[in-house]
């Protein structure tokens, strides 16, 4: 994968802003949900769905597709918004988030919406599923060429199941599993290092025998390059730690753990959209 041109970076940046706008709108409409994580991961999801993934929105169950396993299901708004913008379903359906009868359940439900690889919400569950998928892929001789991207939060590393899964990922040496950890340093009760210290995360993962890449989760070149390196590192699995700013794009939300689990009011949403739209003017193509 060649490094991104300036034009490509700008296109992805505009796309991510559209997705952030959608996230704000759908959360305001829903009246509940998580704000910080979805905004923080908008760039990673944009890079995945608009640059990295081998997928076909018109055939969500295409057997040769790369898989995105969302482990921390509470950031569903960014998954839904990205999928809608990628063409899995209509952007107008995003308004139904968390509503009765909606395919866009508060946390992702596999059977409700084609393109969702697994139901998630209870934390720590995704990595083991990515490992199970990749084990079968390995049994089939890695044909077709598929990757299993597991998007995880840093908070869910608290869960015992995450560590069980890391032991198993090392045992089975599944380099096609690429965990991308949203290192935004917040969880519901506060900053991760206050709630339950995780650092040094990199050292912990390296001692588990993984290749670890730390990136700026808002830099498209960094994201795409890290995935490329992970793909070429076939001797052992690679974990990507994506440093992100929770609430990225809206000054009032950025870096504040109180925005982890609540939705903006109508007023807060209007202000957020205004800020996001004015940012758009700052990006020029010359």
């Amino acid at each position: 994968m060649h490094s991104l041109t300036d034009v490509e970076v700008q296109a992805l940046t505009l796309r991510a802003e559209d997705i952030r706008e959608s996230i704000i709108k759908m959360l305001v409409e829903a009246g509940s949900g998580h704000t910080a994580g979805p905004l923080g991961m908008a760039d990673v999801f944009t890079a995945l769905y608009f640059r990295i993934l081998r997928h076909n929105p018109r055939h969500p169950e295409w057997v040769e597709r790369d898989r995105v396993i969302l482990s921390n299901g509470h950031i569903a708004p960014v998954l839904y918004a990205t999928m809608a913008h990628a063409g899995y379903f209509s952007v107008s359906e995003l308004k139904s988030l968390r509503k009765f009868g909606s395919r866009l359940q508060g946390h992702p439900h596999r059977e409700a919406l084609p393109g969702i690889e697994t139901s998630s919400g209870p934390l720590g569950c995704g990595l083991s599923q990515a490992i199970g998928m990749a084990l079968m892929d390995k049994m089939e001789g890695h044909k077709p060429d598929r990757y299993f991207y597991c998007c995880m939060s840093d908070g869910e590393i608290d869960e015992g199941q995450t560590w069980e899964s890391l032991l198993l990922l090392n045992k089975f040496k599944l380099h096609k599993v690429i965990p991308i950890i949203d290192r935004n340093t917040i969880q519901i009760d506060g900053y991760t290092e206050d709630v339950l210290p995780l650092e040094s995360l990199k050292d912990k993962f390296e001692s588990f025998n993984f290749h670890v890449i730390e990136i700026d989760g808002h830099d498209f070149r960094d994201i795409v390059r890290a995935v490329g390196v992970a793909k070429s590192s076939i001797d052992k699995p690679t974990i990507i730690i994506a440093h992100t700013i929770p609430g990225k794009g809206v000054t009032a939300f950025e870096g504040d753990f109180r925005w982890h689990g609540k939705a903006p009011s109508l007023e807060e949403g209007r202000a957020a959209l205004k800020e996001l739209r004015s940012l758009r003017g700052k990006v020029s193509l010359d």
Partner: protein
Amino acid sequence: MIRKTLFTIGEEEKATREGFGEGLVSAGTGDKRVVALCADLTESVKMDGFRAKFPNRFFEVGITEQAMSGLASGMARMGYIPFISSYAMFSPGRNWEQIRTTIAYNNVPVKVIGAHAGVSVGPDGATHQAIEDIALMRIIPNMRVYVPCDAIEAKAITEYIATTNYPSYLRLAREKTPLMLSDNYEWNNGKAYVMQIAKHKHGGEFAYNIGIIACGPVIYEALKAGKELEKEGIAVTVINMPQIKPLDTAFLLRFVKDVKAIVTVEEHQVAGGLGSAIAEFLSENHPMRIARIGILDRFGQSGKQQELYEEYELTAKHIIEKVRSVIR
């Protein structure tokens, strides 16, 4: 269907886990989609036969019951039929939420095998005696629940669940227990069936007709009880109900017309198990006298199987007393 050697000197014994092991090899032979995962108890839960025959489709995952559930869910999403096994106390005991969300809510065909269930596992004591597992699995939507009465039924159910797309739970016991079914027994899609009907020696009428509905190896005690009660002029029909969920309600509605009362028997807490399932259904659809035999809101303890059956009131003697109590 009933084994000729049952209650004779030639009576044979075999653990239900052995039947599972044979069934898994057979299922794996017939279908390459069958894969197996075990949490460090491969010989104990009798997955060793499958491991020897299909090493590439067997995955040792160490003591990671929670992650094992996730692995299996992911494998199922790739088109496979994973069997996961441990002691019932740990799977589905420890990994209940993972089974609920990633297996049942995802609605993928993972088969959860809970071995060493019941107090009959014996000397290991209460920590290892799963007597809540039927309840844990029965209340999860999409999940199907099976309790075989002997090794022959365990093998048949194992082969059957490998062919379905349902998340399923299969409960197994550690101890050798009598083979009650004949070798030509065939699984009949989860239907309950008669194991024993009282026959009046002189062709006359019995004073009472009582139905005993049971699941698992403990049904052997129910059969013994039925034979004793027959001598007292109490007609007992013993029913095996190996599929707890979905419950064979059509059978129940037919059966209850012929009996005065029902006694349920299981090696499980009386709360939430087979007896509960039957009582819930009949109280709404055909209210009648029901008495349940099972563990009475207690933990198990160390001991031999027979000592524990005595202590927790699961023997033929206790079943006889219960039947007498419902006709008084």
